[in-house]
């Protein structure tokens, strides 16, 4: 009986061991270590990691492209919607509500947080000091680009110089517009000073930083700085105008010698959504299933009547807009838009045509090209030293290419008053950079926007110069003040 008791006791002990034994170490099982995901625990440990994080911040640029024509052109005077789109378009009519900027807001702030991660975490990684400084400078330049998009549209916005790590700092109020621009300029200046002048296509270099600074100083009315940064690009000798204006918008000329900065596309990988939206639309009939007859997109773009009327005859105009096209899919011969639109407004925007790419366009989106820099330099010089003849040289280089040898079309400018030159350079920008999403911003910075648009019969209120902060964001963050009027 003792033996039984002993054995029973032993058994009980075993059982207790069995139950207790697994309890200790198993808590480790609850610690999550995702096998196929990178987390902060195993990221930002090498130079390669930094680059990958940086590319994450770059990728948001794509999100800015699809709405860029709405911000830059559709609300201004040169662009309207395609005649076959049946509805009025909110961007054309100023009927948008205060959620219209939600895409811009989220794209930019998502990217800013990514850039901030790169800036913050790169510091703690041990690799060559110069390359480390370069990568941080590149992230700063990216951050500046996104803040510029926000400030240009909405004025002062909340400023973040470090990444979000918890829920504490997500309710920051708006900074002033000046503070945001100071921040942007500081970031870009660091990039201009630190980076090399050349970079793999799609990445930021010092020339790009200088070009962006030139544009931003121009927006700020700081013509001296605009001029000096534009000249830095011009004097580098690394850029020139392409001979043929039409070549600028073709996939084979991506990242050409004229393109200072382009957002990169590759057909089938990441398709540029814009070329497809400039195509003429055939509402029905014999064109069947073709690129041109693809699904009508609300807000398909067309040139405005004013643009067509005021754009002087030139080779450049003939590249920019057209009233016919040649043998579309399945139908050969010239087809006029008059026929297609059944008497409607017969023009379409032809400069971005990418019929080769169909709906998978691999044409890059141009952020900044050399012609723009020449015109910025000319405009800035006209303000700082109106007598300096270099401004004619710069603007006439653009006109010369545009007229394509037909001297009478766009003769060289000479001997204008300062004010005449102001007008001339703005008009030059209008037609040289037509539909490249600069127009509305140019009009706004020159305080011409409201008058221009009212002259077109648009119902635009004074407060609409600034876009609204997305309503949802002001609801989510009570510290966020809405722009007046919205």
């Amino acid at each position: 009986m003792d033996q039984i008791m002993k054995n029973t006791l032993k058994l009980r002990i075993y059982i207790i061991i069995l139950i207790i034994f697994p309890l200790k170490a198993c808590d480790d099982l609850l610690v999550e270590d995702p096998p196929s995901n990178i987390s902060l625990a195993n990221f930002y440990q090498s130079e390669e990691d930094v680059l990958v994080g940086l590319y994450g911040a770059y990728s948001n640029l794509y999100g800015l492209v699809s709405q860029a024509p709405n911000y830059g052109e559709m609300i201004a005077d040169d662009m309207t919607i395609s005649p076959i789109v049946p509805d009025a378009f909110e961007w054309d009519e100023f009927t948008f509500n205060s959620e219209v900027t939600s895409g811009l807001w989220s794209q930019c702030y998502t990217a800013i947080n990514r850039a901030n991660e790169v800036i913050r975490y790169t510091e703690g990684i041990d690799f060559e000091v110069g390359r480390k400084a370069d990568l941080i400078a590149e992230a700063r330049a990216l951050r500046a680009i996104y803040y510029f998009h926000l400030a240009r549209a909405m004025g002062g916005v909340p400023l973040y110089d470090s990444p979000t790590v918890g829920f504490d700092n997500i309710y920051e109020p708006r900074s002033t517009e000046d503070a945001v621009y100071d921040f942007i300029i500081q970031d870009l200046q660091i990039a201009a000073d630190e980076l090399e002048p050349s970079s793999p296509s799609g990445r930021i270099n010092s020339d790009i930083a200088n070009a962006l600074l030139a544009r931003i100083y121009l927006y700020r009315g700081d013509f001296q700085n605009a001029l000096s940064h534009a000249e830095a690009v011009i004097n580098s000798g690394r850029y020139r105008l392409l001979d043929d204006y039409a070549d600028l918008f073709k996939a084979e000329n991506n990242n050409s010698i004229e393109h200072i900065y382009q957002i990169q596309y590759l057909s089938g990988e990441i398709n540029n959504p814009l070329p497809g939206r400039y195509g003429p639309r055939a509402p029905s009939g014999p064109y069947g299933r073709s690129f041109w007859a693809g699904t009508t997109i609300p807000g398909s773009y067309a040139p405005s009547a004013e643009f067509v009327a005021e754009n002087p005859e030139s080779y450049r105009r003939s590249v920019t807009i057209a009233d016919h096209y040649d043998h579309i899919d399945g139908v050969s011969g010239v087809i006029t838009m008059l026929e297609v639109y059944g008497g409607g407004f017969p023009y379409y925007i032809s400069k971005f045509n990418d019929r080769e790419g169909e709906l998978q366009s691999g044409v890059n989106y141009t952020v900044m090209r050399y012609a723009d820099i020449l015109l910025i330099a000319a405009e800035a010089l006209n303000e700082t030293d109106p007598t300096d003849p270099k401004k004619y040289e710069w603007i006439n280089r653009v006109r010369e290419r545009a007229r394509n040898g037909v001297e009478s079309d766009l003769p060289d400018l000479t001997a204008t008053t300062q004010d005449q030159f102001r007008t001339a350079v703005l008009e030059e920008r209008r037609f040289e950079l037509a539909f490249e999403n600069q127009r509305a911003w140019d009009l706004k910075r020159r305080n011409l926007f409201l008058n221009k648009m009212r002259a077109q019969g648009k119902n635009v209120e004074d407060f609409m110069l600034l876009f609204p902060i997305p309503d949802m964001q002001t609801q989510l963050n009570p510290n966020l003040e809405q722009n007046p009027g919205w």
Binding site: I19, T110, I270, L476
Partner: protein
């Protein structure tokens, strides 16, 4: 895992040592000459009762126990009242027991009326037990154990396999539909192998899953989607239980209240479905075979315009848009020459055959019980080219090693092949045979003169691929192999105390092959052929260590206690490879290398773990007062570092009033019990790693090529934890008229807090949303069940009726969020919304109020609108809710429907007369609404695609002609507004199954080798009473969503069918 492996080895060593010791003890005990008795109850728990051999004057009694049919009853218990002496009958029903003269023998067996016999001087007793009318003696499986129904204090619905098998169905869950109060089951996809949507007592969550936990033979399975990714086509809703044949079911218990579910802790909040499969029973070898053939057709076709009608509408559209007539007799024939045209529904629907085979072999001695079975299902879908096949093999064994040790093994292996067609409107470019059959113009035929497929090239721009071509030329095959197995050892430590250890694995391997040929017509994107191969491999490991104690103290106290510790881990890996652009279609997906545009490969690995401590105490006083307390402490890897562990307690009390004298004296009530419980349960059903910040991949183009970029996907939330549901339940069970009438009712209030909600946060943080524990939902309800057993001469009538009322209400959301909107509808019809708003049920439809058709311009001007755009005569008019004119914006939208039913019910009836049994099963839902998103597409734009016939019949053609359907005017679908016109009553009453079966009398069979033989003829879904105009009111496009319910949009339609079959037992 290394740790687990090591632990497993150590454990096995200990176990072997333990067994050796146990043998030694047994040996010692036997040499002491002590007698002992082990009774194995259904719970697999061991009671040990000692017999004192020193008391004298006993006599030896032997006998046989048989049932009413003269068949021996093995395993019946015989106890000497007031002593610890007892025995059980052997395989032939024989027993021997020693007792004193004058003692009373208590003879009992589950499902039979107990008997007591006072011992006189007889030494041979032959006893006939009669089947119990009362269900109180039924054994009900509960979490980690089983109890007598009379001892149950929680709310549990029990469905017996034999009842389910009376109304045969292809899948287990289908056969459960309408059987249990409080359980709402709807088909999510009627495709073969398609999934069902199950809600037990309502929807508790918004973003986390509200699916119940499934436990198969004690193994809690993870209800993960095991359909791998594939190119283009979205994965169908699949049925996690499709691998189990309904014929293998012994019983299904549905645990509903907190007392029953809290034992599953962090997984119990949505209810628990316990599935018990058949096991071998004491008795000689039995062989059972059954076969059935099911012949199915689509239950209903939609009434669409024919070719002539569509051409007339198209011409009208042309006229309305100042365009030349399209069907003008020149380019195309005039409408009158077109006639009926092609009925595309006839082209894709077919009479579908399903063959089901089951074969099983089972038997058992006192020491060994076993069952081996195999099943095979070959089901054709009612849409051409869709097919589901499943083959399964099952084996289980219960072995008594010695008086102290029992072991058991379960093995369930099966393979299924789902040969699917795109459905649910979610195919590549939203094309599917069904949707395209509804929309393709009847003007064209299937093939042109050259034998090529013709496609719907409409009058403007829309391309629709020929539905037959989609079905025949695209491939989507998913092969799934699943092995669910476990092995356990039960060791009896001392009297009443058992230690059980259980190891199990659930291994799933799934592979999906997709091919879209380069001939497939797709919109917008040029298609040059797409092939993909996706796989998922999932291993789920379970270890359980439990102690259970059962003891009676005197006749007044019964105590059972349970303690356990479990570890469950899962490793899941998935891979997807895809290549585009094939010059040939001949190799399909078999050679991805031959495509010229390989896409980046994707792979993913996920690990999860759940550690749990479990405790339960049951105390029954005087057989009248039942107390149950449970507690489970769960640690889940899915949650934040600060909140890994949660505790889920519950308590219940039941009072068997029926045993009180005062009730007994009424002589009207056989049994009456009231139950009450309260407890906390959790829901941990969210994606793993939700609390961590992970980096997602992006591929920007740099230097002319894609590069990998990473970006963080969320702000880490170390405080993330489970949703917590507190549930109060009060219930009543009563039996009247000698068990012929039973009644059971429950009322409950469930409140779920700390919802795992995707909360919108200020975007300036760099993130749009964050998963946080915010918000609460309430479900209140009442459910009851009535059972009747009646006999009229030789006619037996058994019926059971159940009905459930659930009221769901969202109580709160995150601060600053006053509502959540969700999109519904796909492709052509993606224009709907549902809303979740505090104070309202989840899933309400949200849209415009249809107010007829604008008749004249004057009418438009009169209400202050300008003519044009959306306001033109012949176009729909919508209510202006805020007085600023109708605008297509939020101010003119409101709640326009509720998908939540007022009540659901099920009614089963079995009539048997001699050898003939008729089973009729009725199932219904009342008061719910369905958003028929098909209507949005099919009541507009006849120039683009086909429309409902009612469009032709009721369209507006001029002032006063129609106030229901617009004129064919619009171009771009700009007026496809979701309004109350698209929200329809979804109530239905369905005679789900009628089954007439005939048991061949043994005289007819003429062979005593055959135990029984039955033939049956059944009809499924033969009668459905509903006002719903779509294919079928039983529809749910978003199977896994809690906030998008009752949406119909190109779903695979319901069938009706006739089934014939035979069952043979040897």
């Amino acid at each position: 895992m290394a740790y687990n492996l090591l632990f497993g080895i150590v454990f096995q060593l200990l176990l072997m040592n333990l067994l050796t010791e146990a043998r030694a003890i047994n040996h010692n005990e036997h040499t002491k000459g002590e007698n002992e008795l082990l009774i194995l109850n259904a719970n697999h728990l061991l009671f040990k009762e000692e017999v004192n051999i020193h008391e004298a004057n006993f006599i030896t009694i032997s006998g046989t126990i048989i049932d009413q049919n003269g068949q021996p009853i093995p395993g019946a218990t015989i106890l000497v009242e007031g002593t610890n002496t007892g025995t059980a009958t052997d395989i032939e029903g024989n027993f021997t027991i020693e007792a004193n003269e004058g003692n009373v023998l208590l003879i009992s067996f589950i499902g039979y009326e107990s008997q007591s016999i006072t011992i006189g001087n007889q030494t041979i007793l032959n006893i006939t037990l009669t089947e119990s009318q009362s269900s109180l003696e039924e054994i009900v499986v509960v979490g980690y154990g089983a109890v007598r129904k009379s001892d149950l204090s929680g709310s549990v619905s029990s469905v017996k396999g034999e009842d389910m098998q009376k109304t045969p169905a292809n899948t287990l869950i289908q056969s459960l539909q309408g059987r249990a109060a409080g359980v709402d089951i709807r088909a999510a996809s009627n495709a073969p192998g398609g999934g069902m949507k199950i809600r037990i007592r309502g929807t508790n969550s918004i973003n986390a899953s509200s699916d119940p936990l499934y436990v198969i033979d004690g193994f809690p399975i993870d209800n993960i989607n095991t359909t791998p990714g594939g190119a283009g086509n979205n994965a169908l809703a699949t049925d996690p239980l499709s691998s189990i044949s309904p014929n293998e079911i012994e019983s299904i218990e549905i645990l509903k209240d907190a007392s029953a579910t809290a034992i599953y802790g962090a997984r119990g909040a949505n209810g628990v479905v316990l599935i018990t499969t058949k096991r071998g029973k004491l008795g000689s070898v039995k062989v059972d075979f059954d076969y059935s053939l099911n012949i199915a057709n689509v239950r209903k076709k939609l009434d669409l315009a024919n070719a002539e009608e569509l051409a007339i509408l198209t011409n009208e559209w042309a006229v309305n848009n100042n365009q030349p007539l399209i069907y003008n007799g020149i380019n195309k024939p005039i409408p009158e020459d077109l006639g009926e045209g092609t009925d595309w529904q006839d082209q894709i629907f077919r009479t579908a055959l399903t063959n089901t085979y089951n074969l099983s072999l089972s038997g058992g001695t006192e020491n060994t019980k076993y069952m081996v079975s195999g099943n095979y299902l070959d089901q054709d879908g009612i849409i051409i080219e869709s097919n589901f096949r499943r083959g399964g093999l099952k084996f289980n064994l219960d072995q008594k090693v010695n008086n102290r040790i029992n072991i058991g093994i379960n093995l369930n292996a099966n393979m299924s092949i789902n040969d699917a067609v795109p459905s649910d409107g979610s195919g590549f470019q939203h094309d599917s045979p069904l949707w395209n059959a509804l929309t393709t113009t009847p003007v064209i035929s299937v093939f042109d003169a050259q034998g090529n497929y013709m496609h719907n090239h409409d009058e403007t721009v829309k391309i629709l691929e020929n539905p037959v071509s989609i079905a025949k030329t695209r491939t989507d095959i998913t092969e799934t192999t699943r092995v669910l197995s476990n092995a356990f050892v039960v060791f009896n430590i001392i009297e009443g105390l058992d230690f059980k250890t259980n190891f199990g694995t659930d291994v799933i391997n799934s592979k999906r092959d997709v091919y879209i040929p380069n001939t497939a017509e797709t919109q917008a994107l040029p298609n040059l052929g797409v092939a993909s191969i996706g796989t998922i491999q999932s291993n789920n490991w379970l270890q359980e260590y439990t102690l259970s104690y059962n003891q009676e103290f005197g006749s007044m106290h019964r105590l059972s206690a349970f303690l356990g510790y479990t570890i469950q881990t899962r490793e899941t890996e998935s891979v997807l490879s895809r290549t585009d652009e094939f010059f040939t279609n001949s190799l399909k997906y078999n050679n991805l290398g031959i495509g010229s545009n390989p896409r980046p490969s994707e792979s993913n690995a996920v690990n999860t773990a759940l550690l749990s401590y479990i405790g339960r105490l049951n105390y029954i006083f005087n057989n009248k007062y039942i107390f149950t307390g449970t507690v489970r402490r769960d640690g889940s890897s899915k949650f934040g570092a600060e909140n890994k562990w949660g505790v889920f307690p519950s308590a219940a009390f039941a009072w068997r009033l029926g045993d009180e004298e005062i009730i007994k004296q009424l002589n009207a009530i056989d049994d009456l019990k009231i139950r009450s419980s309260y407890g906390l349960t959790g829901n941990e059903n969210i994606s793993p790693y939700s609390s961590l910040a992970l980096y997602n991949t992006t591929r920007p183009i740099i230097n002319g090529a894609p590069v990998i970029g990473l970006f963080p996907n969320r702000i880490p939330n170390p405080d993330l934890k489970w949703e917590k549901t507190a549930q109060f339940n009060v219930g009543l069970d009563a039996t009247f008229a000698e068990g012929r009438l039973n009644f059971s009712a429950d009322y409950y209030i469930k409140r779920t807090e700390d919802l795992l909600l995707n909360v919108t946060i200020p975007n300036q943080s760099g993130y749009g949303t964050s998963v946080q524990n915010i918000g609460s939902v309430e479900n209140k309800g009442f459910e009851f069940q009535i059972g009747i057993k009646n006999t009229f001469g030789e006619l037996n009538w058994n019926s059971s009726f159940n009905m459930s009322f659930n009221r769901n209400k969202l109580l709160s959301l995150a601060e600053g969020t006053d509502r959540l909107l969700f999109g519904i509808g796909r492709g052509e019809s993606a224009h709907g919304r549902t809303i979740a708003e505090p104070g309202q049920p989840l899933g309400l439809f949200y849209g415009y109020r249809f107010a007829g058709i604008w008749q004249t311009e004057e009418e438009i001007i009169a209400v202050g609108n300008t003519v044009g755009g959306i306001n033109r005569p012949g176009l729909p008019k919508y209510a202006d809710l805020n007085g600023d004119g109708f605008r297509q914006n939020d101010e003119d939208r409101e709640v326009i429907g509720d998908p939540n039913p007022d009540f659901i019910y099920g009614f089963s009836n079995d009539f048997s007369y001699k050898n003939l049994t008729l089973s009729v099963f009725i199932h219904g839902v009342y008061g719910n609404e369905i958003a028929d998103m098909n209507r949005i597409g099919l009541l507009a734009q006849p120039q683009k695609h086909n429309v409902y016939k009612v469009y032709y019949e009721e369209r507006w053609t001029g002032p006063g002609t129609s106030n229901t359907i617009e004129a064919p005017i619009t171009n771009a679908g700009e007026w496809k507004n979701f309004s109350d016109r698209d929200v329809l009553d979804g109530s239905f009453l369905r005679v789900k199954t009628i089954n007439l079966s005939y048991n061949l009398p043994s005289s007819l069979i003429g062979m005593n080798r055959i135990r029984n033989a039955q033939v049956f003829l059944a009809g499924d879904n033969l009668f459905t009473f509903t006002d719903y105009t779509g294919f079928d009111p039983e529809v749910d496009l978003y199977a896994s969503s809690n906030v998008q319910m009752g949406v119909d949009n190109g779903a695979y339609p319901m069938s009706k069918s006739v089934r014939i079959g035979v069952k043979l037992g040897f």
